[in-house]
Symmetry: C2
Subunit: 762 residues, 2 copies
């Protein structure tokens, strides 16, 4: 019972039998259907619409255009709101946009009686544009004379942040030193989350309020953003989040809920559903930012890292969304994961362009950082003829590390132990030796990568979470979280935490999976791998109050001192002797129905978390590279994670599997491509190459379990980390196999063949 | 703002536009349909079924019979559970019954893919019975050799209670006194609630738990009864109550939810819907008990009531349901409403028979008591040639009355003021004079009746209620009640109470109308006119805590002492100067998003009510009696109520209108009839004569507003009282018009013609 056991997911049976209710399962009868009319240019202005043909389609109820929406700009990212203006998210879009910034921008919406009518009419809307040259790259967007995408940012640069760790400049640091230098541009691509359930919501009005049921990671934030977008008070909006089919950060943006909410107000409060297709999802929701990292690094002959210069350019796409927070995270991890003897100079830029908008995606800038830092590490190791693992042991984030800017500390430190564990698991030393001096077209290699990842967003932003517990008549309990189950198993670990804290066994902890902002305790939601850490503390806090209230009632019933008692396996026991005193069911029935003292025992608590800690880990990958085919086969791979105490080891392992699979696609096949007009070329799952089970090797997982003093149960982040180190580990394995350093993702056949040809290997 | 104002119902627009969601509106797709197979005898035993033809109907999924259900007897009435065995409700039925006690008893259920298949199959189920003589009257059921309906009650008498107020017997009291005596049997009929929405529910399983959405007054009790009926823990059951289309006590019985819950478990947890038709509702749910009251009373020449003997026989029908609680209430009100100089002897019996089962219905035994007491009052007044109003003034419940058994007191006393107010309103004295000495076939008359009604069920049973409040980011609040809106306007008055207590205006109090036992604070529900009194106290209690927490945050923000501040119209103000200090919206936003002190302000409180008080009132009715046609036309009618402070005068008036309309049907036209086999003769709204708007005169309402010290806002019961005095007032008006005392209800044409013939008036 409790924390540390492999409880079966609370929703396992529902999910495999189809019983679990998702948004589409909950649709009331008679919903209207809305379809977004999308721009067919990437950069320009809508001058006018011709709606005649569209309005003539039978079943069309209303067409709303960008000229009909409130003149309010609002922000979409799923952050806790900031009461300080300077820290508020960038409000740079309207419900529908007249100024078009991406191909497929939301310029109008058709509401119709059914899907077919809505789609037909959407296609028949004629638009006149003023069109500008699309700017697909950072370079194009910051070039002299580039069109301005958002008037608030005349140079298209959303933000530029810089810092120096150590003294002076990189150049000063290396001058006169006996060092080897490298100078690379490590570049990552746009990829998409590809959650199974595409964005879907439905909205209607009730008692003058707008009710939106939506597939989101962040129901309470959706409520706030709808309120901002429509200019109505938050209390007049109700957001309901059922089970969701994945999010991975794409549903940490408030994408179509505000528009859906607005549309229902345009048809007298009637219910309107809005489902975003796979094609729209790939091209018009959010992607992982393509970031170019220009890295210079200097290393002594003995492998000591002396100094680095880091310059990162994040391609934001058309709208700010999470904006600079991503590449700021990139530069932070680049800073944290290695120690420079002298200096690290860092600059990061986030730039508006006309490609698909970058947003939050599992890892939030860290996969890009890890690609840069870990390619660099191997390239430096090659440069000084050192084993890359030794290089990392020598230069990586040290035990006791404290970030000089955020002051987030390694309260527990498992990084080197992770490296050792992976080294042994994959037989690193033997394999590195074995793969020296290969010849022939097919070669084997082994590579690795490390990372660190902080847990939650404190102190950069607010961490706050609430939990409510209710005693049932049978001595079981209801558990209500503002935190959201998004497929990761949050409901299961919260159930275990509640059991651990209260002494009520898991089978008697009934967690309510659906969040409803009318009744659910507040929580900002699922992101930043924060929930077991931050929301878990709320469970613990509420659980202790709840248990105290139960024991207080036991004290009344038994005429004993409260603090001489405890609860264990649904029984009130003597704290010392553990002797059974009172069954919880009897206590609960009495508490409800006592004629002397009837009380409905509940507890509710907010945990305002002012702590953070680093999770770390490593990936070791072994590959077989068929050079003529440009094909990389991953033959063995292991992730080793230092994530604190595991609440549910089996679920933790499954979480790592999912992240590794995402990392494999990032490494080898996934990339959202655009033609020169900014139109997506592969916005479907046939052409966008997501790895399937047939592409995926056995995934191995190891843990280093350390009891973190700041975690509610010794735990730290695990949600995002697994996706981080896989791609650079594979890139480094290919380097080990072939001697070829590929500096951009993905390592797809075209690119590899070009590289091998250039290296005269084929 | 707050208490005492005529706020428009919070659900007014939803209800008139069809936006309000009732159970049938919430049905998910793909529900199976269940139909109950009903016995075609009233008394007997099911020996066997032949299901062949029924199972052959295409679309039939499963047929469950009385031989397939758990061997568990359970109670159905909506009372708080008692932890003392002696006070627990009678468990005398199973999910489906082998022993048949009423015509239309639940003996099997068909589950099919659709309504047509289910109904066809239900008709094709063949049943072999062992049949016994039906016992339709109390006399038949208690006769020597009557068949035993429930083996736990061998004489068919469920309970007999008796008490004496004063000394000795009635006979001793009157012996040697110079008194006039009367001896009447006042009899009331079976009537049905006729709520617009017939019982409907649907059930499915989720995460191993059963979820039942149902049209009920008492969701938390439904949960408990399902748990008892199926023998599973309460925590594994979730009950959801949407808007409901009336209940009037019929939905204070847990009628078909347990069967519906069980049936879904028989089809692998698939959703099953169960809608009870109007015909089934009239005959097979619950009725108001037909009670015969044998009254002897003795009065002095000066009108002083000396002694009474009361013997009541309640026809329970086939199942115990609320059982003896009803007639116990009848005898209590008979006791309370008049004062005997010497002695009141009271005996009450509740007897199983084979007619439709009696349950809770608006007034809960008091309309029957009022019919007996108020007929008696007029009959005594006639006997001593006294004005009936004067008789009542002389003998009615006195100011400061305290019930000798329950110790419930008149904390405020408006009874005589109600009589005075009604006397003036209807011009009693003038009319009584005017209607003396009439001749001819059409005569006019004026009559009256009084009543008292306690508020809630304390101390006979438990009164407990909880409320939760949640602050929204915009400074508005969510209000969650366990108490239920059943059409009476509870949500509106709770909203006013919350506004009154917290200083947040009603438009910013968002009440959640739907109760869901997984998340809604506990409350036993809507019955006994308890909610404004009992649950209202929970609103007040939670509201004070909530306000305190808000002011505590204001104190932190403003660095002021908490108790120097108050909240008024959504603004924190200085308690003394009423100067504006802080807007609630700003406070709320800060409380959510403060980086220093983030707290999600909520409050939850249980009010265990250990108080009660008497509401009283009077009805004055003026009639025109067409004797040859046996037709009574009510030409003027007024109810005057002493219900404490009115939370919402307009809603209070509407509540009285509804009750008066119910009283009119009770007086003049409604009666559920049975043939000699116990089969209902008029189980449809064509033959069962419910008054329509065309039968209803203008209804007048007056109030005597007194501030009750025990009510949360000075209020006392008003839900049920309006239905109580109407029928006897009309009976007494007919007496005044014609000199004919009709001692049974309804005063329908057949009965009146017979009476007028017997009196040789026609």
């Amino acid at each position: 019972m409790g924390v540390g056991n492999n409880m079966v997911r609370v929703d396992a049976i529902e999910k495999v039998t189809g019983g679990a209710k998702y948004t589409a399962d909950l649709e009331p009868k008679g919903l209207l259907v809305a379809k977004v009319v999308r721009s067919t240019i990437a950069n320009g202005v809508v001058k006018s619409f011709d709606l005649e043909a569209a309005l003539a389609v039978p079943g069309v109820v209303k067409i709303v255009t960008c000229f009909d929406v409130p003149d309010i700009q609002f922000p979409t990212p799923g952050h806790p709101w900031s009461v300080e203006t300077a820290h508020q998210d960038i409000a740079d879009r309207k419900l529908l946009n007249t100024r078009v910034r991406v191909y497929g921008d939301d310029i109008a919406a058709v509401i119709a009686e059914d899907e077919i009518a809505a789609s037909r009419a959407a296609r028949l809307v004629k638009v006149e544009y003023e069109e500008y040259e699309p700017m697909l790259t950072v370079e194009a967007a910051i070039a002299e004379g580039a069109t301005v995408l958002h008037e608030e940012k005349p140079g298209n640069v959303i933000a530029h942040s810089s810092f120096v760790v150590g003294e002076g400049t990189y150049q000063e640091a290396v001058e006169g030193e006996d060092v080897v230098e490298i100078d690379h541009v490590y570049a990552t691509q746009s990829v998409q989350h590809c959650h199974i359930e595409t964005p879907i919501s439905f909205a209607y009005m009730e008692k003058g309020r707008i009710v939106v049921t939506t597939s989101t990671q962040i129901p309470h934030i959706v409520r706030r953003v709808i309120s901002q977008a429509l200019g109505i008070p938050a209390g007049e909006i109700r957001v309901i989040k059922p089970y969701i089919g994945g999010g991975f950060g794409n549903k940490q943006d408030v994408l179509y809920e505000p528009l859906n909410a607005f549309l229902c107000t345009q048809v007298g409060g009637r219910g309107v559903r809005m489902e975003i297709s796979r094609e729209e999802t790939l091209a018009c929701t959010r992607v992982r930012h393509a970031i170019k990292c220009h890295v210079k690094a200097a290393v002594k002959k003995d492998g000591t890292l002396v100094a680095r210069k880091f310059e990162a350019y994040s391609n934001q796409g058309g709208y700010a969304s999470h904006a600079h927070a991503i590449v700021a995270n990139t530069s932070n991890e680049f800073k944290q994961i290695y120690h420079d003897e002298k200096t690290l100079e860092s600059d990061a830029y986030t730039v508006y362009t006309n490609i698909a908008t970058g947003g939050a995606m599992r890892g939030y800038g860290i996969p890009q950082a890890a690609f840069a830092a870990e390619c660099m590490a191997d390239d430096l190791a090659v440069a000084v003829h050192m084993d890359p693992l030794e290089f990392r042991m020598k230069n990586c984030m040290p035990e006791g590390y404290v970030d000089p800017h955020t002051h987030v500390a390694c309260n527990t430190y498992g990084l080197k132990e992770c490296m050792e564990k992976g080294r042994n698991y994959i037989h690193w030393d033997e394999k590195r030796k074995e793969y020296e001096n290969q010849t022939g077209p097919v070669r084997k290699g082994i590579g690795m990568a490390i990372f660190c990842y902080k847990t939650g967003v404190y102190p950069i932003s607010l961490e706050t979470a609430s939990c409510r517990m209710v005693l049932n008549q049978d001595g079981s309990m209801q558990l209500q979280m503002g935190a959201t189950e998004i497929g990761q198993g949050a409901d299961t670990v919260f159930t275990q935490m509640a059991a651990e804290t209260t002494g009520i066994t898991e089978d008697k902890v009934h967690i309510l999976s659906t969040q409803d902002t009318d009744i659910t305790p507040f929580d900002t939601g699922a992101y930043a791998s924060r929930q077991t850490y931050v929301s878990g503390m709320a469970v613990k806090k509420a659980g202790l109050i709840f248990k105290d209230r139960i024991l207080d009632y036991a004290a009344y019933m038994l005429d004993k001192e409260k603090d001489t008692m405890d609860i264990q396996n649904n029984v009130v026991v003597d704290k010392e002797s553990r002797e059974k005193l009172l069954d919880m069911a009897e206590l609960a029935t009495t508490a409800f129905y006592s004629l002397d003292r009837s009380i409905h025992i509940t507890a509710e608590a907010t945990s305002h978390c002012k702590d953070n800690t680093f999770a770390t880990g490593a990936c070791f990958a072994e590959v077989e590279v068929d050079m003529p085919l440009g094909k990389v086969k991953v033959t063995n791979i292991v992730n080793v994670h230092d994530s604190g105490v595991l609440i549910n080891p089996k679920l933790a392992e499954a979480q790592v599997h999912g992240g590794m699979s995402m990392g494999l696609g990032y490494a080898l096949s996934e990339e959202l491509l655009f033609d020169k007009s900014g139109r997506p070329l592969n916005d479907n799952l046939l052409d966008y190459k997501l790895p399937t089970s047939m592409d995926t090797p056995d995934l191995h997982v190891q843990f280093v379990e350390l009891d973190d003093p700041t975690g509610p149960f010794g735990n730290k982040a695990l949600g995002e980390p697994p996706a981080i180190p896989v791609a650079p580990a594979i890139r480094n394995a290919v380097l080990n196999a072939t001697g070829v350093a590929v500096d951009s993702l993905p390592l797809d056949p075209q690119k590899l063949v070009a590289h091998f040809k250039a290296a005269e290997l084929i």
